[in-house]
């Protein structure tokens, strides 16, 4: 049984290269080529390919926008994203929209074929350098919910840290609390140490994660 493939990419030379490479495989035939997202939609509805190789950035309707529509038009087709973008954000977005695989163009020569076969076996294929994203979403947050270190802080430390997270300068906090900027710094570094945080951004994340802004209006 051969795998019917639709190629959607706005670069004609690339498309012909891909066709050449894929058609050379005995179990693969390229049944169609689309120049942009909308053409891919039309062809996908007509040809119902087993797999769509989809470029993300195309002139006109882009790959990310076309992805959910493709899934609707041809639910049986699997979608393998083939893109230049090595940003985790694109990967996350593509997977959310229903992509089955994510291959970088710089690895097209070595990985594309195995990716196609993996996806056709029902697996999800993601370029190895990007798999960390998937783990991040799965792994539970490393916070120990039973003993919240926030409770170990003094009132003053809590107050200072909240204002630090709200984005006030040390001078402003010192002014609000009638303290010297040096004392504010002391409360801040002591509180951060107790929470095991190393930076203001980490503090903001901590406070947002524990919803502490709303507890202390």
């Amino acid at each position: 049984m051969t795998i019917k493939i639709l190629i959607a990419d706005d670069h004609a030379v690339l498309r012909s290269g891909l066709r050449l490479l894929l058609n050379a495989q005995p179990d693969i035939t390229v049944v169609g080529e689309a120049d942009d997202g909308s053409e891919a939609l039309v062809l996908a509805g007509k040809l119902t390919p087993d797999l769509i190789v989809l470029d993300l950035s195309m002139a006109g309707l882009g790959g990310l926008e076309a992805l959910p529509l493709l899934r609707k038009v041809s639910p049986s087709s699997r979608v393998l994203v083939l893109t230049m973008h090595d940003d985790e954000s694109y990967l996350r977005q593509a997977l959310r929209e229903g992509a089955h695989g994510y291959v970088l163009k710089k690895a097209a020569d070595s990985e594309l074929l195995s990716a196609i076969r993996a996806v056709m076996r029902g697996e999800i294929y993601v370029h190895p350098s990007l798999t960390r994203v998937l783990l991040e979403d799965i792994l539970p947050p490393t916070m120990d919910e039973t003993t919240n270190p926030w409770d170990a802080l003094s009132d003053r430390e809590r107050e200072v840290l909240l204002q630090v997270a709200r984005g006030f300068t040390s001078a402003q906090i010192a002014d609000q609390m009638n303290l010297s900027p040096k004392t504010v710094e002391t409360y801040r570094s002591r509180g951060m140490e107790k929470l095991g945080l190393r930076s203001r951004a980490a503090l903001v994340q901590f406070i947002l994660a524990h919803n502490l802004f709303s507890d202390h209006p």
Partner: protein, 475 residues
């Protein structure tokens, strides 16, 4: 010596300078009037007293001589009634006469004007030799000074006539004059104070107006004008002040216009630079990269199709070169302008940039983004991305920090960005003169173009925090 004089003059200035002009002029006028009044009063008192004293003495002499002359016959015929009448007349004719009496040659009081007994000690208080014309002594009594003149009657053979002139009336007069002078002085003082108040009002009114106008100009209100109240130096000052205000307003307008032009120009330059970068990055991404990818795939197909091993190896080598070039081109496009920024937004672009930095620099980097579910205006996204890039580059190059963090948070009507490190810090007041902080200048420039604010908190050894606030115009 000089220092003491200086401190004295300083003290004087501290007092004189501590009060306003009104008080100064009032003080001067009041002091002058009072001084003048006091001097006149004293002088008049002295002169009047002296003149009256001489007159009193003369009166005393003439009254006693007159008495002596008229009393001679009465004494000789022993007409005591007429003699007594004469004494009473003498006393009545001159209000200054306190008493008059006649003494016999053997020192008996013949007649006197004292109603209630003659004071015996008066008898010895004055006497005169028979050949003398007269003798006057001044008696100090409990009623004041008395000019007592003794004149021999009929060459002393008929006795001595004595008359006492009191200075009580003189005192009364002097007191009256003094009182009148003092009242006059007070009246003049009152008039002087009123006049001085009027004068200071005339003088200070234009000055106070000038002060108010100066304050207005200080606040940047160049529309304020002052009236020319008088044709004097202050009037000239008002005129030149008005002229200066007009020129200042003109200069401020010109400055604002030039600043506006500059802002437009810089805005244009930045926008053009971003557009150009975007265009080149797109081109590299869409065309060059795709072509290289085609090359990769073509070489793979060629290698697969060719049975000869040496060509296969050769194709693999070429494939490696193409792959490396593709990587380079990709990096170049990313550095020019990451497509994430346009396609997905600021948080994703920052995440990407920070992930790249983590790979290249041995430093802890944290990023917190809050409230950015919807996209910001593209110019603000670009600016904040470039600012963060620049600030982080500064940190990597100069701060020697262990940890740096970036916070971007959207509030109702603004977006705040905090970029902070725990490095060696610097003195923000001296930063502008330092080439190391040229990046800071660019950051400030970008923030000002968006009407935002930048607060830098830093000190040597305690890290640096940049607090950036960009207002969001209501959509």
């Amino acid at each position: 010596m000089t220092t003491r004089e200086e401190t004295n003059s300083n003290r004087l200035w501290a007092v004189a300078g501590g009060v306003n002009i009104r008080t100064k002029i009032l003080g001067i006028v009041l002091a002058l009037v009072l001084l003048l009044g006091a001097a006149v009063t004293l002088q008049v008192r002295a002169t009047v007293s002296k003149t009256m004293n001489i007159q009193l003495e003369e009166q005393s002499v003439s009254a006693s001589r007159d008495l002596a002359a008229r009393a001679t016959d009465m004494i000789l015929i022993n007409d005591m009634y007429s003699l007594h009448q004469l004494l009473l007349d003498t006393e009545a004719n001159n209000s200054n006469v306190r008493y008059a009496f006649i003494v016999t040659p053997n020192n008996q009081v013949l007649a006197h004007t004292f109603g209630d007994g003659f004071p015996q000690n008066l008898l010895v208080a004055n006497t005169v030799e028979t050949m003398e014309h007269h003798r006057t002594v001044i008696l100090e009594t409990d009623e004041g000074k008395i000019w007592d003149t003794a004149v021999p009657i009929f060459d002393g053979q008929a006795g001595i006539a004595r008359v006492g002139i009191s200075d009580q009336q003189l005192h009364q007069t002097v007191e009256n004059i003094t009182t009148q002078l003092l009242i006059t002085t007070l009246l003049v003082s009152a008039i002087g104070i009123t006049t001085a108040a009027l004068l200071t009002w005339v003088l200070t009114r234009p000055i106070l107006q000038l002060v108010r106008a100066t304050q207005a100009v200080g606040r940047g209100d160049f529309s304020h004008r002052v009236n020319r109240w008088a044709n004097d130096e202050i009037g000239d000052l008002a005129d030149s002040f008005n002229k200066m205000t007009v020129q200042l307003a003109h200069a401020a307008d010109e400055h604002a216009e030039r600043e506006q032009l500059r802002v437009r120009y810089v805005n244009g330059v930045i926008a053009a630079q971003e557009d150009e970068r975007k265009r080149i990055a797109r081109e590299l991404h869409d065309s060059t990269s795709q072509t290289l990818t085609s090359l990769l795939i073509g070489l793979r197909a060629l290698g697969d199709a060719c049975p000869q091993p040496e060509i296969h190896t050769r194709a693999d080598e070429l494939r490696n070169i193409a792959a490396r070039t593709l990587d380079d081109v990709h990096m170049l496009a990313l550095q020019l302008r990451p497509s994430v920024l346009d396609d997905l937004g600021l948080p994703e672009a920052l995440e990407r940039h920070i992930a790249d930095c983590r790979r290249h620099y041995p430093i802890n980097l944290d990023l917190a983004v809050n409230g950015l579910e919807s996209r910001l205006p593209p110019n603000i996204e670009t600016a904040l991305y470039r600012i963060t890039q620049e600030a982080l580059t500064n940190i990597f190059r100069h701060a020697e920090a262990e940890t740096a963090s970036v916070i971007v948070e959207k509030r109702e009507d603004k977006v705040i960005t905090i970029i902070e490190d725990d490095g060696k810090g610097f003195n923000p007041n001296q930063a502008s003169h330092n080439n190391n902080h040229l990046g800071l200048y660019g950051i400030r420039e970008r923030i000002e173009l968006l009407s935002g604010t930048l607060v830098i908190e830093s000190s040597e050894g305690h890290g640096t925090s940049l607090f950036i606030e960009i207002p969001l115009s209501p959509a």
